[in-house]
Amino acid sequence: MITLQQLTLGFNSRTLLNNCNATFEQGSLTALVGRNGAGKSTLLRVLAALDTPQAGDVIINNTPISSLNAEQRARLISFVSTQRVRVSNLKCKDVVAIGRTPYTNWMGSLQEQDKQCVAHALEAVGMTAFADRPIDTLSDGECQRIMIARALAQQTPIILLDEPTAFLDIPNRFEICRLLATLAHTENKTIIFSTHDIDAAMPVCDNVAILDNCALNIKPIDSAKELLNKLFCL
């Protein structure tokens, strides 16, 4: 469970979120929507502790994330960024294995348990057959699945994704959203992803978090229709 406590976000004089209190429930899939520049990425970066808020704090299971060190946080939150990973000679299974970083020794050697975890993560995203393929030979959709598998291998109760469907074609957008819903519900993970893809996200999400006008409104999917229509002038 993630709780935002009087959270204020912004940079310089521009406020993106003002004194916000909100809660994301465990085991739920939430789509974070909002206009360009509303602060979706900034909010995700603050939740992942990549940025610090202007005021307030993010509380995870009664612990403020500002009181944790990088390794403790890495056992709670994993992050999938918009940055495309195209490293030659890097195999998919090695990318997924990087998710094991908080649990491995100083050399990063994988134990039997870590290897099982990597195999399980690849299986969960349907990419077992790609384990030995170099990541730079994959399509954008395949690559995104590998990055999600990497987050799974990190075995965190929370997964944050910044526009995971951005570069994908329409079938892939729907599949990635369905995959996230399955993971949230079968593995009891709190998953928050920012998106502009209302069509793909709505059928599978539990909640919608609407970021508009410096306020964050988290609604169950059924009661969010009206707000969404208003936001996107539908």
Binding site: A48, S81, V87, D94, G108, R150, Q154
Partner: protein, 335 residues
């Protein structure tokens, strides 16, 4: 470890050993292999042969080995930290920074009439090179936090190098003949001026730099995915940056101080390692780059002795084809 890596490591280690011996056998004075081996392993040999083999050629070969390891590991760390396939001590201006430090010391010390005792002079050269290398690296790290475009960082590195060369030329213009000569000889790059007493300073520093490089193995692997992934995977980026900074300064700075600016080994060796081993894993790339760097420097030394050319012209001719290959093939540079 995969079978391919085991075979490659074995082959490369044997090649390094063979080149090391060859490097000792080859030289301006023609010595038969038997005599060289006798001198090396304390067998019967005349004092002159023993002096040539042990004091000159062995020191030089060890220096070739150390400089290859040092330059390639500093290049590998910089390429991963800056996520820039063309990063290296030479391209980012770190060698130039070290040169600037050395120039100030070699050309400036006589002006200030500082005592140039052998030990002070070698310590001073090393210290000046470290400070120069560290200053440029700090500048590049600060710039790369703000500027994400790797081409811009490379261009800035080149501009820094050019600016530094210009300032060094001004210094040369102002200095006297003796100081100028010692600096010009240094700047051509040579393994020959290193003595056994230099080695006792260089070797421990290089070993420290290598230990620091090895200690960042796991972090460098995570950094392949970029800083956001590294941070959210529990890596303390600031700490890694500090270690890489110190390690690179020690490795590239020390070699530049004693052998002059040697280009393209630091840039090319990690790429040859990636291609040969088809791996991006630093657990393989660190030892592989080190061995390949050592092989490049030993080959460079052997060729430079045979053709009587400065070593940095040889390493440039070996490394530049690799750079051209990377520029034409790499997708990260084509974005």
């Amino acid at each position: 470890m995969a079978r391919r890596s085991t075979i490659l490591f074995t082959t490369l280690t044997i090649a390094t050993a063979a080149l090391f011996i060859l490097d000792i056998v080859v030289g301006s004075v023609n010595l038969p292999l038997g005599k060289v081996i006798a001198a090396l392993f304390g067998g019967q040999s005349d004092p002159l042969t023993r002096s040539i083999v042990l004091d000159i050629r062995l020191v030089k070969a060890i220096m070739a080995l150390l400089s290859g390891v040092a330059l390639s590991l500093s290049g590998l760390q910089m390429q991963t930290l800056f996520r820039n396939p063309l990063a290296g001590p030479y391209t980012l201006g770190v060698s130039a920074g070290a040169s600037f430090g050395v120039a100030l010391f070699l050309l400036g010390a006589p002006l200030l009439a500082i005592n140039t005792h052998a030990i002070i002079s070698s310590l001073g050269t090393a210290g000046a090179a470290w400070i120069g290398a560290a200053a440029i690296l700090m500048l590049i790290i600060a710039l790369s936090k703000r500027i994400k475009d790797i081409m811009v960082i490379l261009i800035l590195g080149m501009m820094l190098s050019s600016a530094i060369s210009a300032v060094i030329e001004i210094l040369q213009y102002l200095s006297d003949e003796a100081a100028l000569k010692s600096f010009v000889v240094w700047s051509m790059g040579s393994l020959a001026d290193v003595t056994m007493s230099h080695l006792s300073l260089i070797a421990p520093v290089i070993i420290l730099g290598v230990i620091l490089a090895v200690s960042t193995t796991k972090s460098l692997n995570v950094l392949l995915l970029g800083e956001q992934y590294a941070q959210t995977s529990g890596i303390n980026i600031a700490r890694v940056r500090r270690i890489v900074f110190i390690s690179t300064t020690l490795l590239a700075g020390t070699i530049t101080a004693f052998c002059g600016p040697i280009g393209f080994v630091g840039l090319a060796a990690p790429h040859i390692a990636r291609m040969l081993f088809a791996s991006a894993d630093h657990r393989i790339l660190i030892p592989a780059s080190a061995i390949i760097g050592a092989i490049m420097m030993l080959c460079g030394d052997i060729i430079s002795k045979a053709l009587m050319l400065p070593i940095n012209t040889i390493t440039a001719l070996m490394g530049i084809p690799v750079v051209i290959y990377i520029v034409t093939r790499n997708r990260n540079l084509m974005q």
